[in-house]
């Protein structure tokens, strides 16, 4: 909920002349963590935390990130399968409505509700009238990653593909069969497949059936959740080509959720990069691949092996250190600062970073007896012996600690077995404009 007013700015909205199929504003999904004998809620995993973006008619929006970054949850939020903890999603906004929405979100929080009310009533997924909701349901379809699990094993292809038509009472009997045949032919299957069970098909063919089902109601938007990551490359190419042809024919918008940078580069018009539940960068595909503003996006792109690079030896592996931090307790400031190769003192260094450092050391962590926090940025670490405290202080002053972290420390004193430390306090890092239609959340502005 921190940065929803940042995105997109009214000027940008005017560029998107045709409005948006689906707009998410400050959308969050928190899953409770229960612990203890009574299973009380002790915290929340912020799977998705204040995400905003628009999907424009006919475009492909790529959503990328590592596993656990919340991209799949976001896909489910967008399709309405999950309801958000907070924030809103708005369906079918024309240019005027979109600029109204942006204007409303530009207002301070207390004045926002009034400005939003008419938009909520007409476009809010959860709040709009029944008829409009049913229209949303027909216009927003989904294709899942696992083609085994996404087709009911006891249903025939005609039942699977024809089901949306039956549910929305569009066709029945002979007409339904003909419509299904038509759909199957569009995805490269045919009449001979009508009376088969899903298990009689290969992975690529099952994914085609899924796509045919999604097309049945002639939607405007299809959410593709890793549609090709379970497939072999040669089959993946078939499916990607198919998706592209269908988009050209029907002016479909895609939300393409994937971890595969090569695929998203090939398919997407715009890309949104997520890290630990937040958007860290969004912009046109070429801009991101040529001049990404956020170090995380850069790392992802660099790690992507590419056949087109002529001399593979030149493309040195770009790799990130460390693992993704616990999403129940994301790092302060920029979530990425713990792994960032270009971190600055302003990136949100905190007490937890010392604990993370300690976990990697052989014996210091064992002798840590107590951590008392004054805030996330200041506190005391008590050890069982004075030597450990001294050794940690030395380590914190030495090269073993990132330089940016060292300079973020405002004070560091050892008092017997206790180590007192205070980092400079830093607010959340905000998404900011980096160029046309390009935003990023990084403290380094002149990248």
């Amino acid at each position: 909920m921190t940065d929803m007013s940042r995105l997109p700015t009214p000027e940008q909205a005017s560029e998107a002349a045709s409005g948006s199929v689906l707009s998410l504003r400050g959308i969050s999904k928190h899953f409770p963590i229960r612990a203890g004998a009574l299973q009380r809620v002790v915290g929340h995993v912020r799977a998705v935390d204040g995400v905003s973006f628009d999907i424009r008619p006919g475009e492909t929006l790529g959503l990328v990130g590592e596993s656990g970054c919340g991209k799949t949850t976001l896909g489910r939020l967008a399709s309405g399968l999950l309801s958000p903890t907070s924030g809103g999603s708005y369906f079918n906004l024309d240019t005027a409505a979109l600029s109204k929405l942006n204007a409303a979100y530009a207002l301070p929080e207390d004045a926002r509700a009034a400005a939003l009310a008419p938009l909520e009533a007409a476009h809010g997924i959860a709040t709009m009238p029944k008829a409009a909701q049913s229209r949303f349901r027909r216009n927003c379809q989904m294709v899942f990653q696992d083609s085994f699990s996404s087709l009911n094993p006891r249903h025939l292809v005609i039942d699977i593909v024809g089901r949306p038509l039956r549910v929305h009472k569009e066709a029945s009997g002979e007409a339904l069969t003909e419509r299904v045949v038509e759909l199957l032919e569009q995805v490269g299957l045919g009449r001979q497949h009508l009376y088969r069970y899903p298990h009689q098909f290969s992975g690529g063919q099952r994914q085609r059936i899924s796509i045919a089902r999604a097309l049945a109601l002639d939607p405007e938007l299809i959410i593709l959740d890793e549609p090709t990551s379970a497939l072999d490359v040669s089959v993946q190419a078939q499916i990607l080509n198919l998706l592209n042809d269908l988009q050209a024919e029907r002016n479909l918008a895609y939300l393409f959720v994937t971890h595969d940078l090569s695929v998203v580069e090939h398919m997407a018009d715009r890309i949104v990069t997520m890290y630990l539940g937040r958007v860290v960068e969004a912009g046109p595909t070429r801009t991101l691949f040529d001049a990404a503003a956020h170090p995380y996006t850069r790392a992802l792109i660099a790690a992507k092996p590419d056949l087109a690079v002529d001399d593979p030896q030149v493309a040195k592996f770009a790799a990130l250190d460390g693992s993704i931090p616990d999403p129940a307790r994301p790092p302060r400031g920029c979530h990425f600062h713990t792994r960032c190769p270009v971190a600055t003192p302003n990136c949100g260094w905190e007490l937890d970073d010392i604990v993370r450092l300690l976990e990697r050391s052989e014996d210091l962590f064992e002798s840590l007896s107590d951590v008392s926090r004054h805030s996330d940025f200041a506190g005391e670490l008590a050890f069982e012996d004075e030597g450990s405290a001294e050794r940690l202080a030395q380590a914190l002053r030495s090269d073993a600690t990132p330089a940016s972290m060292r300079s973020a420390m405002e004070s560091l004193t050892v008092d017997g077995r206790t180590l007192r430390v205070r980092f400079q306090e830093v607010g959340e890092v905000q998404l900011s404009d980096r160029g046309p239609d390009h935003i990023a959340a990084c403290v380094i502005k002149d990248a």
């Binding site: 612990a35 203890g36 004998a37 009574l38 299973q39």
Partner: protein, 337 residues
Amino acid sequence: MQLRDYIIRRLIALPILLLGVSIIVFSLTRIAGSPVGVYLSHEMSPEEVLQIEQRYNLDKPLPVQYAYWLRGVTQGDFGWSGVASAPVAEVFPAKFAATMELSVAAAVVAVALGLWLGTYAGVRRNKMPDHITRIVAVSGASLPLFWFGIVLLIVFWANLGWFPVGRSTNDIWESIAHPTGFYTLDAILAGSWTALMDALWHLVLPSITLGFGAVAIIARMMRSSLIEELQQDYVDAARAKGLPERLVLKRHARRNALVPTVTVIGLTIAFLMQGAIAAEIIFRWPGLGRWMASAVVRGDQATIMTYVLFTSVLFLVANLVVDIIYAKLDPRVRLGD
């Protein structure tokens, strides 16, 4: 969830579950009518009956009666057993010892034999020993325990005369003291070889009868989970390290196959408790089961209630122990949902 938290959670749930059980049992007994009959005789006048009802609070509303009954239970007053013509609490320990002795003997045999048989068959999948184990398992699950006991009696007692019925030979029983109530233990304590042999001799047939079904259940589970584990990647990984097949089986596959089997072993506690009723009837074993059987036939409510409460305590505690072992065997386990 942490193991400690889980145990605490289960311990909190235990009395609540027991309260639930007691409410069910109590309401059931009252459906059948007032238990006043136990205290009555033919020559009592209506006034006397009323007096007795008042004395035992049987004239109060049901919830109040339940409260009185519960208070009695917590104070060790389980009521009067019509079958034994004595307070339930007084008869209970000796019968409990007899049943326990039988169940433990059966359980030891069942667990040892079941695990061995399951492993033996699982490793030799689709070979002769495996087929035989499967036949044993499926017939074990289908065999009516009471009939199996009778067949054993017909063969080994009535015809061959190899084994006795009952719990002991009377004069040998009387020759030693019985501080624990467990005949075998008492015999060892008394240092009497004759008494020990007598005790074991009497145990053979009933514990085979009782244990056979449990062997089948355990062997079956052990076999299938071992087969499943043997197909896991980490078994191949262990082989890829160059470990001999003996260690691959012992340290990797069998240990992990025990995890689901332990749950089944916990369930066989219930199986043994249930089976003990029929087994004790057939072999004239003076335990809880036979007592319960006669109480059931004669509608002795206090005995029935005590018995049901007792078995559920035993069952719940056994399951708790099993879950803890489970968590110990498998560090991944996330207890509860």
